[in-house]
């Protein structure tokens, strides 16, 4: 069985070599189109490719048994992001390049320092405190970027604490739920043919709903609210396997959504753009105009791509505001076509599959909940933004994991990957 673990690391290295060839093709096409600086493109493409490979080789040497497919999927997503950022603006690609190296370093650090991750379940109220602090500080000390005041200024770079808070939220929920699983699962009252949970189970559900609403109101962060609450519901379902909680949770979220539609202008505008004809907002002016403009340009870009796309550099994605962060999926679909867009969605689906597999393989509740929660977080985030830019759902500004430009988001996602790898390692080592 020792051979099995080493065998699977070989898959990882083979797939990373393939991913490296993909990056090379993309970088060369980008270089030809932009007629850029040959040396910087060469360094920019080969260093990340070798970095990913180095991590895999060191893992193999250390007999790390974690899932061999998560890292290659993440490599493909990161490379896609890097190539498209170079195509959009080489300055963004340069910064993303450095953040990717830092992210890889943090990934490796996570898999070395937190191998014994179960100890993390003991500090749940520290996570709650840290999370609250990280969310509150930007309100007082933060700088505003793109409408939301959620960045901290560190001179050379900005950090968005809310990207790291999501990890703390999942850690807190996993430790809380694994401790209180019995309370959540057992019935307390029987009423008209349904078993209803008691107040001890209601408490966290209502609390989480309240936090989501607060995020919505104070940070104007519709996307974060949706992702946090969705992750929470997914974890409740993993802990209890009871549809009743999910129906109640969805009902609560719908109520909250309906209320905020009635109360807040920015929510109403987004829902109206989604439901009504967005072109109608074209003539309106102000905020509504800008937001409708984004969605309309995104739809034009996706439509212009056709099946195989215009080819890297052949389209006009620069018409979309925020194309390098939230709307990068539209740029990818414009230049790699429907096929490229489907491939990206497939990569996320495979990532979710491996994440849930790690959850199913692990033995204890904390590991299961943590793996399922982190996977749900990643999946919901990808879904929310892809659905937003294709007008399947109202647009909510979140980054596309591993692809969008943004250091905090990239590093946080690499830490999440590291945690998943640790859980998977722990589950496989006992097999």
């Amino acid at each position: 069985m020792i051979s099995a673990g080493e065998e699977s690391r070989k898959y990882e290295i083979k797939l990373l070599v393939l991913a490296g060839l993909y990056l090379a093709a993309g970088a060369y096409a980008g270089y030809l189109w932009r007629d850029g600086d040959a040396r910087s493109v060469l360094v920019g493409a080969s260093v990340p490719a070798l970095g990913f490979l180095l991590v895999a080789v060191v893992w193999q040497a250390l007999k790390f048994r974690a899932d061999p497919f998560l890292l290659p999927v993440v490599a493909m997503l990161s490379y896609t992001g890097l190539v498209f950022l170079y195509r959009l603006n080489p300055f963004y690609a340069l910064r993303q390049f450095f953040w990717m190296i830092i992210g890889l370093f943090f990934l490796f650090l996570t898999t070395r320092l937190f191998t014994n991750y179960r100890r993390l379940s003991e500090y749940k109220y520290i996570y709650a405190l840290m999370g609250a602090l990280a969310l509150i500080t930007p309100i007082f000390l933060g700088v505003e970027q793109g409408g939301a005041k959620s960045w901290l200024d560190f001179g050379y770079f900005h950090i968005q604490p809310s990207e790291f808070v999501k990890i703390l939220v999942v850690l807190f929920l996993a430790s809380f739920m694994s401790e209180n699983k019995m309370v959540l699962t057992q019935d307390t009252e029987f009423f008209r043919g349904f078993y209803f949970p008691g107040p001890r189970a209601w408490g966290p559900l209502l609390g989480m709903w309240g936090i989501s609403l607060l995020l919505l109101v104070f940070q104007r962060d519709l996307g974060a609210a949706l992702i946090y609450f969705g992750t929470f519901l997914a974890m409740v379902y993993v802990a209890t396997a009871r549809m009743l909680y999910i129906s109640i949770g969805v009902g609560l979220f719908m109520t909250g959504g309906a209320l905020s539609y009635l109360l807040f202008d920015h929510v109403r505008i987004r829902v109206n753009i989604w439901l009504l004809n967005p072109y109608g907002f074209f003539e309106l002016g102000d905020e509504a105009y800008n937001q409708a403009y984004q969605v309309i340009q995104s739809l034009f870009a996706i439509g212009a791509g056709g099946i195989t796309g215009t080819g890297l550099g052949g389209g006009f994605p620069m018409f979309i505001p925020a194309v390098h962060t939230d709307f990068i999926f539209s740029a990818i679909t414009e230049e790699m076509g429907l096929l490229g867009g489907i491939a990206i969605v497939l990569l996320y689906i495979l990532f979710i599959f491996r994440g849930l597999k790690a959850a199913m393989e692990s033995r204890d509740d904390f590991s299961k909940l943590l793996a399922a929660g982190l996977t749900a977080l990643m999946g919901l985030q990808a879904f929310t933004i892809i659905a937003g830019v294709t007008k399947l759902l109202p647009l909510t500004g979140v980054t596309l994991p591993f692809i969008s430009y943004g250091g905090s988001s990239l590093v946080a996602n690499f830490i999440i990957l590291g945690m998943l790898m640790n859980i998977s390692h722990e589950a496989r080592i006992h097999e």
Binding site: Y11, V73, Q186, T240, T308, G311
Partner: protein, 180 residues
């Protein structure tokens, strides 16, 4: 010429994306298969856990012994004794004789009851089924000594340690089950 090379590399970029996904799924499949082969080999080696020494309640004639369970409230080795003509209900609801907090157990999952000197097991319309010796039961079934019952992750063994004076004709299949 340069345009041609650019076009070629644009297509290679897209094609490589699919080559990668194809190889990824192929290797996942290989990994899955090698994992299953290994699990089968391990499963054959694992010995059956023997129930611990049982101290039956006076007057009881049979019992259910927990072999393994994912529910910490239901420890392996615990015994539920059954009197003659007794009924025990199993499920997630706390109103049951045997409460099992298991994600695959229904609230009102199954029942074991004595009738005419025999013990029967009945599934009460559970969602994930009741398994008798790894076969899902569809109708009330007679339990024999050392039969294995599995509900979700909880597995139990039925043990018969005493027979009443007038022993029933064991093995009768035409018998109608009593309504539980």
């Amino acid at each position: 010429m340069l345009d041609l090379i650019l076009t070629v590399f644009r297509y290679i970029f897209l094609i490589m994306l699919y080559v990668f996904i194809f190889q990824l799924i192929r290797m996942m499949f290989l990994d899955l298969r090698s994992g299953e082969v290994m699990k089968e080999a391990v499963g054959k080696k694992a010995a059956e856990p023997l129930p611990v020494e049982i101290k039956p309640l006076p007057g009881s004639v049979a019992g259910l012994v927990v072999l393994s369970s994912g529910d910490p409230g239901l420890t392996p080795g615990s015994v539920f004794s059954l009197m003659p003509e007794d009924q025990a209900t199993l499920g997630r609801s706390s109103k049951n004789t045997i409460t099992m907090v298991d994600p695959f157990a229904s609230m009102d999952h199954a029942a074991v009851y004595g009738s005419d000197g025999q013990y029967w097991i009945e599934d009460r319309g559970s969602k994930n089924g009741t398994f008798l010796n790894d076969v899902r039961i569809k109708k009330p079934t007679v339990l024999a000594d050392k039969d294995k019952i599995r509900i979700g992750d909880v597995s139990m063994q039925f043990l018969r340690w005493a027979y009443e004076v007038e022993s029933g004709n064991r093995g009768g299949t035409g018998k109608e089950a009593k309504r539980g």
